[in-house]
Symmetry: C2
Subunit: 429 residues, 2 copies
């Protein structure tokens, strides 16, 4: 099966005006660099990376550069050396200068690599999580680029983790199909929402069955205390409250504010400072324990995650599905987390991130870290209507295991046309 054609589109949703997704530092139009692979067999593969409006046009060009390198390859050729396929793209002798493996170029790579996995899963007629769960430990390890991380995880160690958990996979798969994977909601706590809106959303979400609520905090401690009191008051003491600072503090300020907010019993403080700062997070984690430190949605690659794990900079690893280089790199990060005994609670929201991470969370439980204690996958109730196979929440607060073949990231043709930037109807008006 040869990849005979590729395309990439700039898709943007005008979310800024409603302040959906607003936090301490980010406010934009939820966007996607949307990639399609066409094959001579007629089958297509889809992938995207999520951005926040401006900048998506640069990401589209970076994706084009990778797609030029992928076009003409056969799926069989790629699958015969998945590690080499990833490494060659990630370390391309020209493109690596504007990375390496970080920022726009790496996010674009994530879209392209995920499209290949989507194509493979569709060919196998399996949802991605099932494709991954059915791979042998050796096949998983052969997909991982261990460059720069062997001081933290060797191929042999990765293999041992996967082999250890091979027994029981069938039972856990059955459990996932029946119960789904536990989720938490971020939809209730955007910083730009009014108090009244937040109260109403919390009440509705609790009635729906949610038990874990994330709120945004910002630079103003008084405002944070007030909002935390409001939300804790609304959800009660029997629910979990998580706080997300979205990188808005320096190290000392993060410690000061987290300690002041401790009286509302947050489970974790998320992104207290720069996502690049493993040592800063380690200092914060030490100072604010037993409150957990969570981060990952803006961690650029496996090398940064490695240092967070080595330094004790996080105890909740919030894996992102397309900021890093797609499924191949995700696998290395999940396995490092397992080795260091750190919980993975994937990041979602935006455009398509829920659709993506449900697969990763379910596969993780089946094959990498067979424990659901204090594991929850983020859920945000936005933009799912644009996907051909949108996520489904069951039992009040669980991601239903997807059943359709692929990575669930194909968008509806009508949505693509309407929201393509700048020529779509949504942007012309």
């Amino acid at each position: 099966m040869k990849i005979t054609g590729t395309s990439v589109r700039d898709i943007r949703f005008p979310t800024a005006k409603e302040k959906d997704g607003s936090d301490a530092l980010n406010l934009g139009n939820y966007s996607a660099t949307y990639v399609t692979l066409e094959t001579d067999g007629g089958l297509k593969g889809y992938g995207l990376t999520f951005t926040n409006g401006d900048g998506n046009e640069a990401c589209v060009l970076a994706a084009k550069a990778y797609l030029e390198r992928v076009k003409g390859q056969t799926l069989e050729g790629i699958l015969s050396d998945l590690r080499g396929f990833y490494h060659k793209l990630a370390q391309d002798p020209m493109l690596r200068w504007v990375g390496p493996e970080k920022g726009i170029v790496h996010m674009a790579l994530g879209a392209v690599v995920n499209a290949v996995w989507d194509l493979w899963a569709r060919r196998e007629k399996k949802p991605l999580w099932k494709l991954l769960a059915d791979l042998t430990p050796e096949q998983i390890v052969a997909a991982i680029d261990f460059t720069w991380i062997t001081d933290a995880l060797t191929p042999e160690e990765a293999l041992a983790i996967l082999k250890k958990h091979a027994p029981g996979k069938a039972k856990r798969e059955e459990e996932m199909r029946k119960n789904g994977y536990p989720a938490y909601t971020t939809s209730t706590g955007w910083l730009g929402y009014t108090d009244e809106k937040v109260k109403r959303l919390c009440r509705e979400a609790k009635a729906q069955g949610w038990r874990h609520f994330k709120m945004k905090v910002g630079q103003d401690l008084e405002a944070n205390l007030k909002r935390a009191a409001l939300i804790r008051g609304e959800i009660g003491d029997d629910c979990w409250l998580m706080m997300d600072a979205n990188q808005c503090w320096d190290v000392a300020e993060a410690i000061r504010q987290t300690k002041a907010l401790a009286k509302f019993n947050p489970w974790w403080m998320e992104e207290p400072t720069s996502p690049d700062d493993a040592l800063g997070h380690a200092a914060i984690a030490k100072a604010v324990a037993p409150i957990a430190v969570a981060t990952g949605e803006a961690c650029q690659n496996r090398v940064v995650f490695k240092q967070f794990l080595q330094a004790g900079g996080l105890s909740i690893l919030q894996l992102d599905s397309c900021r890093v280089g797609g499924v191949n790199e995700v696998l290395s990060i999940m396995l490092m987390a397992a080795k260091f005994g750190v919980r993975v609670c994937p990041h979602a929201g935006g455009v398509g991130l829920c659709e993506y991470v449900q697969h990763l969370a379910i596969f993780g439980y089946i094959a990498v870290d067979p424990d659901l204690t204090d594991r929850v996958c983020e859920y945000v109730d936005h933009l799912h209507e644009h996907f051909v196979e949108p996520v489904k929440i069951i039992n009040g607060r669980f991601y239903a295991a997807p059943t359709a073949p692929g990575y669930s990231i194909e968008m509806k043709a009508a949505s693509l046309d309407e929201y393509e930037f700048p020529q779509g109807k949504a942007w012309k008006e």
Copy 2:
């Protein structure tokens, strides 16, 4: 003085075919995202960021996004709050998602910010180094964004460093004007060159007056040993030899190869592993001492440099002038290095990097770190002919202090036309 117009051009030189700039992982066409600011006063400002061919097109788009935000501002307004000017761009609520402050988006910001400094220096009719040297300690500190680094350097500490070195500035300026700033050469040791070519280049360079020679090493230890023997044999024991691995090893391999190469008495091992890996570099530095560990050309921002300094991951800081966010961020990195007592030996080569860093090195000596012991600034003998005010090497191996107003980064109109990608004559043929 109002910024009334902006433009950005994709400039590429076909260097790959001669293997100029070839190393263990990089081989490309030296390129620039070239920015021009036009003002209602008729004065123009120029800036560029260096890339390696493919990917430059995405960088151009990112620069456009920043230029849209700069257009219409006045130079006076920018100068009244240089810190705020930088911060607002670097933390733009949309563009930060595809960073923050890393990769393509940050490199593009470097070009734009540097163009503003070039404009300012031209208005003052001073070379950039002199503009900087004449600023008060308070003015320098007011240009720096301390976000995320106050656990390593506070504004007060930065001010104290600058004030401490204020006496003697005039004398050091005179010294720089007379002698220039010491340089080392990288032109002799590209990995793709033949043995014969390397031997000839070493002989010629030594005859010209060079005393510090950098060679590239790669993944093949036998080849590295052979090449090191050749170069050490050619330059003799009275010269300094530096080695550059360009990120090609994992931590354990870096230690193994550096120890094996120790018999050729290298001064430093450069980029032994991932540029993101502060902890990995610290482990290497500890294991290979007294050989120094050098890195920085691919370090994405001040937060990563902060961790390298905190962890002991480098003892030679190879500042880049446009991978980080231009002069504003460079100042914070130079001051952190001074606080930690680490030598700055700026990275150069590529397109325009020598033109840029001569200003930073000279300013650093005058105002931040008044010591020339074991300080050398990189020099590569390529592409200077395309600049209106190219670097000049004097006394065999010293950068002459520039005298023309600005940041020396304006390119010749004919060169821009000929090498613009893809429509320039050089690419059409």
